[in-house]
């Protein structure tokens, strides 16, 4: 409450006659900023065009259509599906105990590693046949989600629960500590270099085309996993008793406790759900690019956290929306500006979000961001 008052005072003092403009910038500025990149490249492709190859005599051929931007968007959305699943874990945990769970990205890495070990143990290859693959991967998914969920609960019990009354920065440091521990586990487990894994879904196979935009198997996997998982989570949070307990605890832990909710178990349950989604994301990530790395969780964690903040932290739909947006931004940068700038551009967007609309795209005013 105090934060809102201060922020308003500051804003009013600074605003003066420009208040109207500022309000418009506050509500539309972010959307304009987010649309800037795709719109610019759409117009660029239509007017300037892009080089689509060479004629027999060596002259470049220029096309003026939306195919390339469509390819970027499709790839971006399916990348974003992975960030969205990780972002949900951040948003759930932040929503309930206001902690940036820095170890979450590394739980995601553990998901990739566990998944890959399980399907190697099961002996799955592309030759197994579709039915065997689907059964095997489902089993892998269930076991991995259980493992990463339990890992996240374990981290919560060891590193965060004893620190509920401590200064707010203390759990942040233990989160970072656990992140290092998990990275070291990953380093010992799979070595320091990216590891190729068995390409079980034939990820580069074009399943069908939509007006020139190829839809690969990997896109279908990513989006096809995101939708049922998010629907299931949404059902759990909004339609079941433990889900109601989670929402109550997020709103007011003390009142929830007085109403007979076991706050500790509810927090653990939240970590369980977040860890399970991170495990699923880990499996999708490993299958998607057919490789994995002990350090992949670091960047994934930062992107996913950006996504969660962009959407509105504490809000599941916001996390999904933010994840998809980050995926598209990432893909546009990778393809148009060069991979080395992607991280900087995503963080510039994060700062724009924070300046123009700290509550996020779907958010109401919160305690922290006025």
């Amino acid at each position: 409450m105090s934060a809102i008052t201060t922020a308003q005072t500051v804003r009013e003092r600074a605003a003066g006659p420009l208040q109207f403009l500022r309000r418009r910038v506050g509500s539309w500025g972010l959307i304009v900023a987010l649309l800037a990149l795709p719109l610019y490249y759409t117009i660029h492709d239509l007017t300037v065009g892009y080089q689509a190859g060479l004629t027999a005599s060596g002259h470049p051929i220029f096309h003026h259509n939306l195919t390339v931007i469509g390819i970027n968007l499709a790839e971006g959305l399916s990348n974003g599906a992975i960030w969205a699943l990780i972002a949900i874990g951040y948003t759930l945990v932040y929503g309930i105990i206001e902690l940036i769970n820095f170890a979450h990205g590394d739980v995601f890495t553990m998901g990739s590693f566990t998944g890959a070990s399980i399907w190697t143990t099961l002996g799955l290859t592309l030759a197994t046949g579709p039915l065997g693959l689907i059964l095997g991967l489902t089993l892998t998914l269930i076991v991995t989600m259980f493992v990463t969920g339990s890992l996240n609960v374990l981290i919560e019990r060891v590193a965060y629960k004893p620190l509920r009354n401590a200064p707010k920065l203390a759990p942040l440091i233990t989160a970072i500590g656990f992140s290092f521990v998990l990275q070291n586990v990953g380093l010992l487990w799979q070595g320091g270099n990216p590891v190729a894994v068995e390409d079980l879904i034939n990820n580069g196979h074009v399943l069908f085309n939509i007006s020139g935009v190829p839809i690969y198997n990997r896109y279908v996997l990513a989006i096809g996993m995101l939708i049922p998982l998010v629907l299931a989570l949404n059902w759990f949070v909004h339609r079941t008793a433990p889900g109601r307990a989670m929402r109550a605890t997020a709103q007011d832990p003390e009142a929830a406790r007085l109403m007979g909710i076991n706050v500790n178990n509810t927090i653990s349950l939240t970590f369980m759900l977040g860890g399970m989604l991170a495990g699923a994301a880990g499996i999708i990530y490993a299958l998607y690019g057919a490789n994995m790395w002990y350090f992949q969780g670091f960047q994934a964690g930062l992107y996913a956290f950006t996504a969660a903040v962009m959407g509105c932290i504490g809000n599941i739909r916001g996390a999904v929306l933010g994840g998809l947006i980050i995926g598209i931004v990432q893909q546009l940068c990778n393809y148009r500006l060069g991979t080395q700038w992607t991280e900087a551009v995503i963080f510039v967007y994060l700062i724009i979000v924070m300046v123009l609309r700290p509550r996020g795209l779907l958010g109401e005013e919160t305690r922290e961001a006025g």
Partner: protein, 401 residues
């Protein structure tokens, strides 16, 4: 576990009682001769080791990080603004050396009191470099601070983290950005041939004798400790603490919010820049891959481990973490597995051990090794023990449930 915890608390409290408070002109009581004695010991300390000793080298790094931790403690501890992008100031300080204290900008021919150096490039004296870095990083600190003025808590952490990462990406890609035909940075190749510090009468500092480096960073660190103490007790320092404790109350008492917060960012950044200048000179290279997010975390963990807001805590935290990283794990503990017949290097486990230590120490002593007196009173003294739960219902409730 709790016995160990009680024992640890007892030791640390005893240690705190034994070390005298700072003298009056440092803002404390001047009742024991501890400070000059400690300074004397610190000055003769390197004479006990050989000029190339690994321990001395670790100590030099540790003192460099003490300066950084003191600076970050101003931002996080005094003003309560969680800054996760502190690496940006390390980078800017180091690049101040890269640009103005090496042959990197080869088109220029400037030498200001920097001793015998090649004719090309810009060479400024070490003191001038410190001044440059202080100015550059203070301005950068204020720029980074601006978008966070409306925000609180973890949101500040995210914005500063983003700035740190943006600067990190910029310096890595800087070799592709040219201004007037001069690349901005040397990227991952690194700018080498950094000038060693040179003062009239001392000659160049070499790596065969580390003692002058030690005395130099000791001098910088002592000045920084002094500045930190005086700032804490100044009008500005009290304004920071007031803002940290209750922003609304502080603003309504007439504390200028924008100016006070920006000053915290600027001064904290300046400390980081100064340390960056020294560390870059000591490393003799400015390599873009040094400026990663993990470095910010490294410094934050020093401040939090020592005790947020506490100056001796930050010093202790910085020394502890740097010795663990640069001496204990690589030099001392590394031989243990071989000694007990296991065939692996402990360095493979160093990040894991480091992470594990962070978790253990924070769980056992969440207020930090040497907590600030004010926070200690807040946590324990003000309210009678049986009333604590009533006074802090939200805090007491969650664990009880």
């Amino acid at each position: 576990m709790s016995e160990l915890q009680a024992q640890l608390h007892e030791w640390l409290d005893a240690l705190q009682r034994r070390v005298p408070a700072a003298p009056a002109w440092l803002g404390g009581r001047w009742n024991r001769p501890g400070i000059p004695l400690l300074l004397g010991i610190l000055i003769v300390f390197p004479l006990l080791f050989s000029g190339t000793s690994g321990f001395l080298q670790a100590t030099i790094y540790a003192l460099g990080y003490v300066v950084m931790a003191l600076g970050l403690n101003i931002v996080i501890g005094f003003a309560g603004l969680l800054d996760l992008g502190y690496v940006a100031f390390y980078a800017l300080g180091a690049y101040a050396v890269g640009w103005f204290g090496s042959g990197f900008i080869s088109g220029a021919h400037i030498n200001v009191l920097a001793g015998p150096n090649p004719a090309f490039g810009i060479h400024l004296n070490f003191i001038l470099l410190l001044v440059c870095a202080t100015i550059v990083t203070s301005i950068a600190g204020m720029i980074i601070g601006l978008p966070t003025l409306r925000l609180r808590g973890d949101y500040i952490a995210i914005v500063t983290l983003a700035f740190g990462e943006i600067i990190g990406t910029m310096v890595i890609n800087g070799s592709n950005i040219s201004l007037f035909g001069q690349p901005l940075t040397a990227g991952n190749l690194g700018i080498s041939s950094i000038d060693p510090p040179w003062f009239p009468g001392t000659g160049d500092f070499g790596l065969l004798n580390l003692r002058p480096w030690y005395w130099l960073i000791l001098a910088i660190a002592v000045v920084c400790v002094f500045v930190a103490y005086r700032l804490r007790d100044s009008r500005l320092g009290r304004a920071w603490i007031a803002l940290r404790e209750d922003e609304v109350a502080a603003v309504s008492m007439g504390i200028p919010l924008v100016k006070t917060k920006l000053m915290a960012y600027a001064i904290g950044a300046a400390f980081g820049g100064m340390s960056g200048v020294f560390l870059a000179s000591f490393d003799q290279t400015v390599n873009a891959s040094q400026f990663e997010f993990s470095f910010s975390i490294f410094i934050v963990s020093m401040v939090v481990l020592g005790g947020i807001g506490s100056i001796p805590g930050s010093i202790l935290g910085a020394l502890a973490i740097s010795y663990i990283n640069f001496y204990l794990i690589p030099d001392v503990l590394n031989t243990i597995p071989h000694a007990i017949g296991l065939n692996f290097d402990l360095t493979d486990l160093s990040i894991g051990i480091y992470g594990f230590l962070l978790v253990i120490v924070m769980v056992l002593r969440p207020q930090g090794l040497w907590p600030e007196q004010r926070r200690k009173r807040e946590l324990a003294g003000e309210v009678a023990p049986e009333l604590t739960e009533l006074a802090e219902p939200s805090a007491g409730g969650v664990t009880a449930g």
